[in-house]
Subunit: 354 residues, 4 copies
């Protein structure tokens, strides 16, 4: 019972949850339906194109009320058949299977919403001649090729709000509060939230830190009359000459707790740690993220409508453009050491522990 | 250079930080100044009455803009000279020293804002004949003698917002999300936030749990079409026949992480844990907490003005009353097993793991 | 095709929108389904029981995700067939028609969520022998028989947040900012938000005001160094010897704008007015309102299950009880002049314009 | 008693209140103090440089806790001695007087935080040879020369939150809700919030509207099953062939109320209007605005430190740059009709009433 409508557009969400996924889906549906397409929502990421396929037709009714809703109504998969290294030409190449299924479903084009991993998979499909357009998502803001990914502004709001809350307790108790935020390889959330929340120390993966220097900054503040300090640390930050220390899935904490222990010893002060974790991924997107998601979704449909493939929609200054998927894959966007924001923070007395 | 003004009222904040402390201080100052008193803000809790004493005069100007501000401008101490067991009649009894200092400062009465420990200290002072009135504070809501303590409503907002955020991620990824909230001995935050956030399992210290029963509830939900679940657990909840497992100050997690590991094993599902920690203590108080704090602060001044001592202001239904400090000390207010809210939750299918 | 299942429970929402309606519906469904009932959601208030009847069966699936959602999925009607005075015995008595329809639908009982008007209609039905239980809703908190109605805490949050925002502008520009809030006959929102937001003047319908006294308070503040003032006024507040001046549905403002003009003239200061209006009615309910709504919904089902009728669920101190519908109708709950909160506010220098 | 320290930097805030003013002041102080400057906070905008002068030295202590605070601790003036047309060479030219005062105070440079009017005044001073650097502020986002002004993102949050709230009431009651937002000459807030909130109609000054077309869109939605609609209208939007109809300072409403009346008549539906007004100007800045304000403040100090004058700091894509004050004055930045966001909205079925 599979239709052969050449006017179908598929959409899927892949990788970790991010606020704005549903807003993109909504914009895709409303824009595509307006142009006369039928939209197929592929379920559980690329997995929905394997085997029996899992999808459902999405109409304007299905996306009603979706703009402020976090999460994704289509579900998502982090790993799966496309997680490993592709063995081209192998009998059970999932790419060929998924491509055949997409053709059978009569898709004119597929919109893939995700991060670097997702866009790398999309690029493989594009090389196979499938019509595909990417939409950049990551709360980490580490995707190259675009000025901003959606989800980041909402994560920033959660992290800044957390700093505000810790601030009052730190000040009331003369404490050091350490906040560990997301960012395994990049420090964008820590840097932005650290400045927006007025923290005293910001530690990011791009700048290895020295705990003694952090401790010294805290003691220096104490000598000048500020008996408390706020430290924001990316989960991927690590000491000079050391290694990243991610939290174990089990009960063992990561860099935040390790640093907190060290600072307690080095400063003799009462030090406490909070790990924000998944709170940064969920909830209703900010207006900024809703707007960006909506523009991305609409632009992706227009790109497919105009015969574009193998590209990703992207924000460049004020405009939405498309860039080759190659530009968005193969590496991640890290913070340069002389970044304007780092200089701004240093100029105001913020320590990066180096 | 110490005045002997008989028209002075002292105020101090003691114990852990809670949203609304500053709002109480503001109400104390505005109300007392209106009645002709001078207000002395004692710094760092009862410690400010020891030795040289630490205090400052608070005027209406000093409390401007304080209503929405979290924390306490007076600072607070968790433990100190009054932390251990009092040896009455000992040479360096801190109570006698503090009482002498309070008299020397010309205090007509002292307002002590804090939890059970604080009110117990206040009661000791009252027994020594010092004029003292308590204001009930604890984000845990476990103080007896009053229907509500300020700080609890704000903690509830933070915890419920966290559940909302975890909800979207849980649903998008078919995950089990475990949220550990405050409550070493009582489950008020977990129970209220669990219901307000619509969680599927609520684990509290008052009801020892069985991980197998929790896992079964999660699998039962899956069978009926809900592939995700939200579990809220008090930090003091513990398994049947077991012991509380508080998070270590170091890197080792507490009951939340332990349970998450067990559920992953028992259900075979992707399970994640977030520990809210100090986020529940800070930030701007909710309107409810601002109003309650303000009423408490004003009522405490009026009590002292009317010659009341050895009492604590309290909320009884809609009214602010005073109750003997004895009623607020010596034990904490736990949740009765047949509490109306527990029955409500059970009736809607929420599991308490028992 | 109408079933005759005696195990059906109906639920409807009536009157103005309020945050928490959906939360009550969700609790009704989850609790009733757990007890083996089928739930009928009656659409557009009592209107859904007239003529062809408009209703749908509500299952647990239908109420998924409804807890944090504002509004009502069942729709509501402010006026309609039940708006006017009932002519008992008349041929087209809508009560008899609705009762017959309810019986035909096999309803064991009907849950009516609404304010004073709704409960008055419910009482009429109860007198006709129909099994009916009310759930108290009004953002104004003016319903007698219960300590609190749901929706009020959320309205309070919106109003207090508005005062916080106006505060910064007032202070920066040395202005008088007037905020008009809901409350045609009662000042609960103005009184609570006024104190929680730290306003300088609170004007409520229960205390007729004198603009000259308000102006004098503003000038007095200016003389003592506070060049700005915040005035909160209920839409139903009115001058001594005057009449309420509600905003015209058209372009003509109400008491807020009138007062602002007068204060500008009397004080010579820059005065501005904001009318909050419908912003107070919508959006996601606060944790407090979600919890109260859930407890009410569950209690209403249990009441019907236990054969109770002609009663309304209500909050009394900490407990949910039922009270005769007569207690909740016929009058509204106004603020007594010597209310504890009014005395608190006066004691801190707040003017009520009298 | 006026110092002649050549190492002084002045800072003032001018024009309407906007969230982020205090964050700029904080960044100016922290950065300048770090560079060895003394900072003079000029009070009440340029007025503080007239006559006796009003200013105070600002240290790091003075800006503690200022980052999340709305408003401006320096006060601001909308009009004043610099409001009218300058008569160059006149005896009481306020520019010459202010310049002389600035020199007497030993200012190396002056930082002027404000909108188009403020920057125009700054340009006059620059022409007189005074060292001056502007910081762009306007919640309307209409300042040319920069991609973004601070304050806009916070206004957007307030407006989007308002749409969310109105949405639930509109849907519950099958109503048309009209939200009037700021924007006398430009529709940036209406356009951004309209898309982020999912409104059905967006009316902006750049596109004159026809009420019949708006009404037709509402009825068309009703026919397709959506009985409610949300209309967002800039205060400066006006009908084709008509004039802007600003709200009177008195009781008479502006375009929002006018349109609401017309739509009620044309559609026969229940239509309600809310005017957001000053709620858009106040409160704590969003993380985005705090970050932008901080970067602007630091960049302004660095510009003066590096001998730059007659320029304004500005955001260009991701970077902070300086642009000649001429580029930021003389006109405002309006929305071009083929703007990417307008096309996005139209493609999703949003009507602009044309």
């Amino acid at each position: 019972m599979i239709a052969k409508n050449p006017q179908r557009i598929g959409v899927l969400t892949s990788g970790g949850d991010a606020p704005g996924l549903n807003a993109v889906i909504r914009a895709v549906v409303k824009t595509a339906v307006n142009l006369g397409y039928e939209v197929l929502g592929i379920e559980d990421g690329f997995e929905g194109l394997i085997g029996e396929t899992k999808y459902r037709v999405l109409t304007n009714n299905d996306v009603r009320g979706l703009l402020p809703a976090g999460g994704t109504i289509l579900g998502t998969t982090n790993k799966g058949h496309f997680g490993g290294k592709r063995v081209i030409g192998s009998e059970d190449d999932p790419y060929l299977e998924a491509k055949a299924n997409a053709e059978r479903l009569g898709m004119r084009g597929l919109i893939t919403i995700g991060g670097e991993g997702t866009q790398a998979i999309a690029l493989e499909f594009a090389k196979l001649g499938m019509s595909i357009v990417g939409v950049p998502k990551t709360i980490d803001n580490d995707l190259p090729g675009t000025d901003r990914t959606f989800g980041f502004d909402t994560a920033l709001l959660v992290a800044t709000d957390a700093i505000d809350r810790l601030h009052t307790t730190a000040a009331s108790h003369d404490r050091v509060m350490v906040l560990e935020v997301m960012g395994r390889h990049v420090g964008w959330i820590a840097l932005h939230a650290g400045i927006a929340g007025g923290s005293d120390v910001i530690l990011i993966p791009e700048i290895p830190f020295d705990s003694n220097i952090v401790a010294e900054r805290i003691l220096e503040r104490e000598r000048s009359g500020s008996a408390f300090s706020i430290v924001v640390v990316s989960e991927g930050a690590f000491p000079k000459g050391g290694q990243p220390l991610y939290a174990n899935r089990g009960r063992l904490g990561g860099v935040g707790f390790m640093l907190t222990d060290q600072l307690a010893e080095l400063t003799g002060k009462d030090c406490r740690c909070v790990v924000l974790g998944h709170l940064q991924r969920g909830g209703s997107p900010t207006p900024y993220d809703r707007l960006l998601s909506t523009r991305y979704g609409a632009a992706a449909v227009n790109a497919i409508h105009n015969g574009i493939s193998g590209e990703m929609v992207a924000l460049r200054a004020q405009e939405i453009v498309t860039v080759p998927l190659e530009e968005a894959t193969g590496h991640i966007k890290t913070i340069r050491p002389h970044n304007d924001m780092i200089r701004t923070a240093r100029g105001m007395g913020v320590s990066f522990g180096d």
